[in-house]
Amino acid sequence: MCLGIPGEVIEFLPDQPDLARVDVSGVRRVINVGLLEDDKLEPGDWVLIHVGFALSKIDEAEAAAALQFLEGIGQAYEDELAALAESRIE
């Protein structure tokens, strides 16, 4: 549920390993990345932000795959319409 927004990790706070500065469309905020201690975050990684915490690291490969599927859908749209029209003819 709950509002989670993707943001890019800019840098970690030098004396506080749990905290990182993230960027969301030009807006910056310090968030707690303690929940991702197993993920070995680096600047440039994207994370899902919720109430000041990073909940999950965004898997760019999966994102690309998801977009590819959607691209495929878009390109096949015209064919799909044609197929739909054909299948309605009895």
Binding site: M1, L3, I5, N32, E37, D59, A66, E80
Partner: protein, 375 residues
């Protein structure tokens, strides 16, 4: 905005909608429940239902953690806040939830020190800045938010903060889904699974839905294309007669969830034997409380809360709306006695509540005729 805009493309939406339509068997009605309030919000905000064929109905489930808090618990929170030594901190969503004597907002007007925060960590800052006051954080949310509360408690413990505690109202999603599945007056074909809860608990907890109840589940993201794609994936399963759990939101949701988050919750919290859900009654093992070891951060142990039960008003049909049996406009008091300005039931309180969402966004969405009957 990266990872957001790409999933809001209208052309791809048309393509998905065409595929969904193509999968509809003639004469068959499909009822899909989106459990999560955030999904309801997206559906209305982007006018998603305009894309769906008439045969596919989206039913709004109980996934709004603010919506399900009973009036009695809100009264308890207000009692806590009214203590002159207490500064209560809360998310914005809670500010307008009505108790027996108004909401946090109204209490603020009467002089109660209630402050809105964006993160539970902000409460720690307020506690440090106000050593002579006791800060109580109103913790709400499903498993999405529980880890943040847990980490905040752990941080407070590490710092030895003496004046911070949590009034814990976290609820868990699985018992609510089960209550719906076991409901005799409901017939659903599939579930759009909660996206952000799943980043914490993973996808395995939904397997019982597919295995024992034979309903497919697709864990979905929050952009409009995510939801449309998830509906398409559900329709594909229904057309093949399969029922499995799939993860559409794989760019964010790991199949096994977040072990660090689960450990943090497990360390600081435990399941209550039962908890009352607005409109759904008592559900066992459906909510979290602070563990004994962290008692010094548990507002329920530190303060005495009245604990009075306040009934759902007889005319309030939130329960049926939450279960997806009624559409918002079918509730007898929708739009008149119960409005966003004067919300009776919590379905109207939070913008995610099915009724508020419909009132604010959906009134003129469809020109087409929809039948009222739930089956």
């Amino acid at each position: 905005m990266k990872f957001v805009d790409e999933f809001r493309d209208a052309d791809k939406a048309h393509a998905l909608a065409a595929r969904i339509t193509a999968l509809c068997e003639p004469g068959r009605q499909y009822k899909l429940m989106e459990v999560c309030g955030g999904h309801t919000h997206t559906i209305y905000k982007h006018g998603l239902e305009d894309y769906l064929p008439e045969q596919v109905t989206l039913v709004h489930g109980p996934g709004c953690p603010v919506c399900v808090i009973p009036m009695g618990r809100v009264d308890d929170a207000m009692a806590l806040a009214s203590d002159p030594d207490v500064i209560m901190t809360s998310f914005g969503d809670m500010m307008r939830v009505p108790g027996s004597n108004g909401s946090f907002f109204d209490a603020k007007a009467r002089g109660t020190d209630i402050r809105m925060v964006y993160s539970p960590l902000d409460s720690l800052k307020i506690a440090r800045q106000n050593p002579d006051k006791r800060v109580v954080f109103m913790a709400i949310g499903f498993e999405t938010t529980a880890p943040s509360t847990a980490m905040t408690v752990l941080r407070a413990a590490a710092e030895g903060l003496p004046n911070f505690s949590v009034f814990c109202n976290h609820v868990t999603i699985i018992p609510a889904i089960k209550a719906i599945l076991d409901s005799p007056d409901l017939r659903l074909d599939g579930f759009i699974g909660p996206g952000h809860v799943s980043t914490v608990i993973g996808c395995r907890p939904y397997e019982f839905i597919a295995r024992d109840y034979g309903k497919p589940v697709v864990v979905a993201g929050f952009e409009p294309l995510d939801i449309l794609q998830s509906i398409y994936m559900l329709m594909l399963q229904l057309s093949k007669g399969t029922s499995t759990v799939e993860n559409q939101y794989s760019r964010v949701v790991p199949w096994d969830g977040n072990p660090v988050a689960l450990r943090a919750i497990g360390q600081t919290m435990e399941l209550r034997p039962y908890f009352e859900w607005r409109g759904l009654g008592f559900i066992s093992h459906s909510a979290l409380a602070v563990r004994e070891e962290y008692a010094r951060f548990d507002a329920e142990r530190l303060f005495s809360v009245p604990g009075v039960r306040v009934a759902d008003p007889k005319a309030c049909q939130c329960g049926e709306v939450l279960k997806g049996v009624l559409k918002p406009w079918e509730c007898k008091v929708f739009g008149t006695a119960c409005t966003p300005e004067t919300p009776i039931g919590t379905c109207m309180v939070s913008p995610e509540g099915a009724c508020a969402a419909y009132y604010n966004y959906g009134r003129l969405t469809r020109q087409r005729v929809r039948e009222a009957s739930p089956s």
